[in-house]
């Protein structure tokens, strides 16, 4: 994403972090519309298997994606912690279901590195960069490469 690239050049940017099983990932705050608790899903039959269904977001039909399955990891486990990150993808809202939501972090450009081959089990191509906080490594996801 532009933000990640900018961050390497010098500008600070904010990322919302979330967990996919144990892997900590981040997504640019600017691309996020909102984060919501899962609401009642309507299953769409014959849809791709990474699509969990559709929800009504204030009159808009939003497709909910199982982010775990989309990235080829374990599917999201139903729990009270799971959250729906609604992102704006080419003028359309799409919901990314994640296992658990983390903090918002500010990425210092100096600490962002090129992504390794993989983080946890997530393939490296999904990430724009990796960011090391004091004790953790966050993979910064880009919407362009995961869809």
């Amino acid at each position: 994403m532009d933000n990640a690239r900018n961050s390497r050049k010098g500008g600070k940017s904010e990322y919302a972090t979330f967990f996919l099983k144990n892997a900590l990932c981040g997504i640019a705050l600017s691309s996020i519309q909102e984060i919501s608790k899962p609401s009642r899903l309507t299953v769409v039959h014959q849809s791709p298997d990474y699509v969990m269904g559709v929800i009504n977001l204030r009159g808009k039909i939003v497709t909910i994606i199982d982010t775990g399955k989309l990235l080829g990891l374990t599917p999201i486990k139903r729990s009270d912690d799971m959250r729906n990150i609604i992102v704006n993808l080419d003028e359309e809202f799409v919901g990314l279901m994640v296992d658990r939501i983390g903090n918002v972090i500010t990425v210092e450009p100096a600490q962002a590195d090129m992504p390794p081959a993989n983080i946890g089990d997530v393939p490296g191509r999904c990430f724009d960069a990796v960011y090391k906080t004091n004790n953790e490594v966050v993979g910064l996801l880009s919407l362009d490469s995961i869809f």
Binding site: R40, T42, V43, V44, H45, Q46, S47, P48, V51, V54, I55, N56, G59, K60, I61, V62, T63, I65, D90, E92, F93, V94
Partner: protein
């Protein structure tokens, strides 16, 4: 059905006043929300009531106002058409006067855009091909200046459009005759009895005007079936009335808007689906104990006999790949379905001997297959191409729904035209009836008009004469079915029983100035006699140049079948053999032999000939 986002990159011009009205309403809505929050916070029931009332009003007003911004008047389109007519008239040296009414009638922008092309197409054809040149008009004693009327009016949530010209028109009878001639209509039955408007419906038969010189006035209508398809895409209907020499009257009905459509809500388990009302013909409920009698299996597919017409059935759960489930009447819980087909019933009236379960748990008498709740609910739907029954679990109410597009990740999901939000806030999917027909047609290879079946189990015995042939199926007594090769049949007539006379021991029918000898099958072969009826179907054959009618009872069907003829089991003089077609034993008749038995005189004169 087109979803509203299909034209996202087009613009609409709005009057400032209506924008201001919207701003004002948005302000009201904010006030309403504040009140609502306050009412909820203070737990004030009365305030809550007044607030909800206020929000209700504001919401519907906003909706109305926003709908209005999408509406545009017919004026621009009418002006455009007027220019086109002038231009065309000048080029062809014809004189055409246009009169319009209802320029101010408003229509949703999407629909207005969609009908522009069809309307102009029809006007162009009317001027170029329908309207005669001035000297011909003079000879026909018509006014030199031809007239075209263009009327629009809104009525009961619909917009009616009329195009009336006084050109040469087309003769419905000639059209029907041509359709029969070219083989586009194969069924000759009842063609004499159909009304003028029904005849005019053949104008939409694709390929009817392939040879433009075949009949007078055909060039005006060549390709009109495509226009019909265009209009149907936006939920419109078209009717044409025409008289040769007097002109054509086209009536088009259009919905006011595409984004709100009346729909029938159906349910599969707990999931709801919307079927657009335009596609819906009727709703059927088959009680559990009648399922076995009304529904038949043809090949792998189920069909229902509905007023003499065979209607394929599509199981919605099967098409969508939904695991069927049901609520058990005893424990009230949802269980997965064990029945493999919708036909699987064991009602008490038609019970079959229970098989030996061989030690396995024998099902109790309260087996759900006996239960009244297992009635079959069917929504009969039709599109241009298909007509079929959609089997669902429950039929709910009809509702007006707002069509919303599905996201791009779901573009590959066939069978859905979009989504809508139900009263409880949950999303329901809108079924695309045409696509579902397509999907299941691929699966079942089952077509409305034609069914192809062979008996796989009967191959063991008899001669195998497997080739595709057209047969006409009919009944004598209702229990037995017969078939004759279709090419033997001259025509089929529906007659009243009172028209049959018995003269000198022979049944005859007064017919077109002559008499048609009638025979019944039981006169010639050993079959159950034909029951007394008010009406009979007479199948006419031509034997050695003379016509003879065979009495029969409906249903009469024509179909192409692959026949595996069993020439041993049920063979008798006049019967070539039997075959199992559509799961029913059918006797294939030797009509010449039957006539020979009953009316030997048919063969006496030209003995041994043909």
């Amino acid at each position: 059905m087109q979803t509203p986002n299909a034209s996202t990159n087009t613009n609409v011009s709005i009057q400032i006043s209506s924008l201001e009205a919207l701003m004002n309403l948005a302000g009201e809505l904010v006030l309403g929300r504040n009140q609502l929050l306050q009412a909820i916070g203070s737990d004030d029931k009365r305030l809550l009531e007044t607030t909800s009332q206020r929000i209700d009003m504001v919401t519907s007003e906003i909706q109305e106002q926003i709908m209005r911004t999408r509406m545009q008047s017919m004026g621009t389109l009418f002006d455009k058409i007027s220019h086109i007519i002038e231009e065309l008239a000048r080029q062809s040296g014809k004189q055409v006067g246009l009169s319009t009414t209802g320029k101010a009638v408003e229509l949703d922008k999407t629909i207005l855009e969609a009908i522009g092309h069809p309307l102009i197409w029809m006007i162009r054809k009317a001027v170029n091909h329908g309207i005669e040149s001035p000297d011909i008009r003079n000879k026909l004693k018509k006014p030199e200046q031809a007239s075209i009327e263009l009327n629009a009016c809104s009525e009961a949530g619909q917009v009616n459009l009329e195009i009336i010209d006084d050109g040469k028109g087309i003769d419905p009878d000639t059209m029907v005759a041509h359709a029969v001639e070219t083989g586009l209509i194969s069924e000759k039955e009842g063609l004499d009895a159909i009304t003028e408007p029904e005849k005019m419906r053949f104008v939409f038969l694709p390929g009817l005007f392939a040879d433009q010189n075949a009949m007078d006035g055909s060039s005006q209508f060549a390709g009109i079936h495509e226009i019909k398809a265009c209009l149907e895409k936006v939920g419109g209907t078209i009717d044409i009335n025409s008289t040769l020499g007097h002109g054509t009257h086209v009536r088009i009905k259009l919905p006011l808007t595409l984004s709100i459509i009346p729909s029938q809500i159906v349910k599969l388990g707990e999931e709801r689906f919307a079927v657009p009302q335009v596609n819906l013909s009727e709703l059927l409920r088959i009680p559990a104990n009648q399922v076995k009698n009304t529904i038949e299996k043809v090949g792998g597919a189920s069909v229902i006999r509905l007023r003499g017409e065979l209607l394929p059935l599509i199981d919605l759960a099967g098409v969508l790949g939904v695991a069927r489930s049901f609520i058990h009447p005893q424990d009230g819980l949802r269980h997965p379905e064990r029945r493999r087909t919708i036909l699987d019933r064991r009602s008490k009236d038609h019970s079959t001997p229970e098989p030996d379960y061989g030690g396995r748990e024998r099902r109790l008498d309260q087996d759900r297959r006996y239960h009244a709740e297992s009635a079959l609910n069917i929504a009969v739907v039709s599109t241009g191409k298909y007509k079929y029954g959609l089997v669902v679990d429950t039929l709910n109410d009809a509702e007006e729904i707002v069509v919303k597009p599905l996201g791009k990740h779901l573009k590959e999901c066939r069978g859905f035209a979009g989504a809508t939000i139900m009263g409880d806030g949950k999303v329901a999917l809108i079924l695309d009836v045409a696509r579902i027909g397509e999907i299941s047609n691929l699966k079942t290879e089952h077509n409305n008009k034609q069914f192809e079946t062979i008996s796989g189990s009967q191959k063991a015995q008899g001669v195998e004469n497997a080739f595709l042939q057209s047969y006409l199926f009919f009944c004598n007594s209702e229990m037995e079915r017969f078939a004759v090769p279709l090419e033997m049949v001259e025509r089929i007539e529906k007659i009243e029983a009172t028209r049959i006379e018995t003269v000198g021991g022979n049944r005859v029918l007064k017919y077109r100035g002559g008499t048609l000898p009638l025979i019944a099958l039981e006169d010639a072969i050993r079959v159950a006699p034909i029951p007394e009826r008010n009406h009979y179907q007479v199948i006419c054959f031509k034997i050695n140049g003379r016509e003879i009618g065979v009495l029969s009872t409906p249903p009469i069907d024509a179909a192409q079948v692959k026949l595996t003829l069993d020439t041993k089991t049920l063979k008798q003089p006049g019967v070539m053999g039997s075959a199992v077609l559509m799961d029913k034993t059918t006797l294939i008749l030797d009509i010449r032999q039957i006539v020979k038995t009953v009316k030997p005189d048919f063969f006496n004169e030209v003995c041994g000939n043909g």
